[in-house]
């Protein structure tokens, strides 16, 4: 990173404040659509952190995959299960929240003491910077080749699994006779047409 140290420090502070505030908003806000957009802000600020850490390729991948794919997917999920329901109150819900908050604060204190107390073996080598992209490619096709190929198979499995899980399930009453023509069709229950009423538009 060729920026001056003061600039790095200030941008780190800004990104950190933005990230923590947006993450708290994701968890604490009651409107889930706001939470999804704040999640995008968290992803963008983490990508800025990656730029500060001399990793331009992963920063771009973070923007492309998280903001472009995962966040949009979550927004579509919110749209599809859009039901404004008031959750039934659970007895002593505040107790669970307080206990969880205490556990999380304790975990954070534990991690901080570990982080601050460990003598890290810092390396004095110069970071490779933009050469990291070439280095990542070399890793992918030499010593990380098997995980790389397995990741592609896993993505294919996730693709097929998501389609199968999310489709409307259909159990035909009688088996179709024309199996040759229907061999490539995925039987699906006909969707119930929801009338575009005022109630449906508001909810």
């Amino acid at each position: 990173m060729t920026l001056a140290e003061g600039v790095q420090l200030v941008s780190f502070g800004l990104l950190a404040a933005m990230m923590i505030a947006a993450a708290l908003g994701v968890v604490l806000l009651s409107n889930i659509v706001y939470s999804a957009f704040l999640l995008g802000i968290v992803f963008v600020s983490i990508s800025g952190m990656y730029v500060l850490l001399n990793a331009g390729f992963v920063a771009a991948a973070q923007i492309l995959i998280y903001v472009g794919a995962v966040n949009v997917l979550i927004l579509f999920g919110i749209m599809l299960v859009n039901k404004r329901e008031d959750f039934a109150p659970v007895r002593r819900a505040w107790l669970g929240k307080v206990a969880t908050g205490a556990v999380c604060l304790g975990l954070f204190a534990l991690l901080s003491t570990m982080v601050l107390g460990t003598p890290w073996a810092l390396s004095s080598e110069a970071a490779i910077g933009d050469g990291a992209t070439v280095m990542i490619g070399l890793h992918f096709f030499s010593d990380f080749l098997l995980p790389f190929e397995l990741a592609s198979v896993l993505l294919l499995i996730a693709l097929v699994g998501a389609i199968i899980l999310a489709r409307r399930e259909f159990i035909p009453d009688e088996m179709p006779q024309d199996t040759v023509g229907d061999a490539l069709k995925l039987p699906e229950r006909p969707r119930e047409l929801v009338p575009a009423s005022r109630d449906g538009a508001e909810s």
């Binding site: 993450a23 968890v27 850490l53 001399n54 999380c104 982080v115 390396s123």
Partner: protein, 102 residues
């Protein structure tokens, strides 16, 4: 100069926020978002270690790319499961998903 500890503390804070959201949320989609937060905290750890402890060979960045890939697959399958449960139970409340409760 930004120290390694700053990034690690920030990742720890993000991870703890993610755990809090994972446990206390009632909405299923918010639970998925909390999982994404935790995965991002781990990614930030990996990248910080890659930059400060092993800057010459970008192994940590390779691991981060793998984690991003797995997270994308997890999000798609998770949302498909949420849609399927929503069609069956007609709710997104975590407290109502107690079919497997003892």
């Amino acid at each position: 100069m930004i120290q390694l500890e700053y990034f690690l503390l920030l990742a720890a804070a993000l991870f703890c926020i993610g755990i809090y959201g994972l446990v206390t949320s009632r909405n299923v989609i918010r639970v998925l978002m909390s999982i994404e937060l935790m995965l991002n905290a781990v990614n930030l750890n990996l990248m910080a270690f890659s930059n400060y402890l092993d800057p010459a060979s970008a192994t940590g960045q390779v691991f981060t790319v793998f984690v991003i890939t797995i997270a994308a697959a997890e999000a798609s399958v998770g949302l498909a499961i949420v849609l399927s449960i929503y069609r069956n139970r007609d709710t997104v409340d975590m407290e109502q998903f107690n079919l497997l409760k003892w």
